[in-house]
Amino acid sequence: MQLISITAMILLLASSDVNAETAAVGALAPNFARPLLDDERINLSLEDYRGQVVYLDFWASWCGPCLIAMPKIEALKQRFEGSDFSVLAINVDRDPKRARRFLNKVEVSYPSVYDATAELPKQYGLQAMPSSYVIDQRGYITLVHEGFRKGDEDLLGAHIQEVLNRVRE
């Protein structure tokens, strides 16, 4: 009896993870408009990218795997140069100065916008840092990717190619 109640409690706890809301695959990616880290006067919105396949990357200067991912994401961008593919990064540092300091040292050619109120991670139901989303040409999420490990750039590249191919069919 006691063993059953212990098990029930642990299962209840484990299942609470499943119920967490996340912008799931197949859902429409929440739209937003945020200022560029490099130039606050310019706002970028997700809608601007309608018609393109978008790789949306949430990152922060204190997150190691986020930083390891950056050159690999840049390589992805280079790989699909000429296709309807864009990379947009969203920075969630509490202090944007740290993010800018970091970007000054690591050169990536894709834009980073700044989310001051951290509303976007909530809207996208972020479960971990880093998290990235592949969004298709109509604005729907096709992939949610957590973390960034060795070989992820190949997996992501294959998925992006597949999404790009879908339009042509």
């Binding site: 006691q2 997150c63 479960q127």
Partner: protein, 76 residues
């Protein structure tokens, strides 16, 4: 020896503690900048901790309190 009642009691204590703690403030993944600092980790200085453990273990009666339980020595 250790009656099942001890194990059951421990299991209940663990489950209760887990649930109690789970009621704590939820810290979102993007709010963990300060928690992620290396100095904030339990494993902040593994080499130093191992040395301390070895030193204190061989000079005091108490030992343990970490998951690393192996590695004996002829020191006490």
């Amino acid at each position: 020896m250790y009656a099942n009642s001890h194990v059951k009691g421990l299991g209940k204590l663990i489950a209760f503690t887990v649930l109690l703690l789970a009621g704590c403030q939820n810290v979102e993944p993007w709010e963990r900048d300060r928690l992620a600092e290396p100095a904030m980790q339990l494993s902040a200085d593994i080499t130093g901790s191992k040395l301390d453990q070895q030193v204190f273990f061989s000079k005091e009666a108490a030992s343990g309190g970490t998951s690393a339980a192996g590695g004996g020595c002829g020191c006490n």
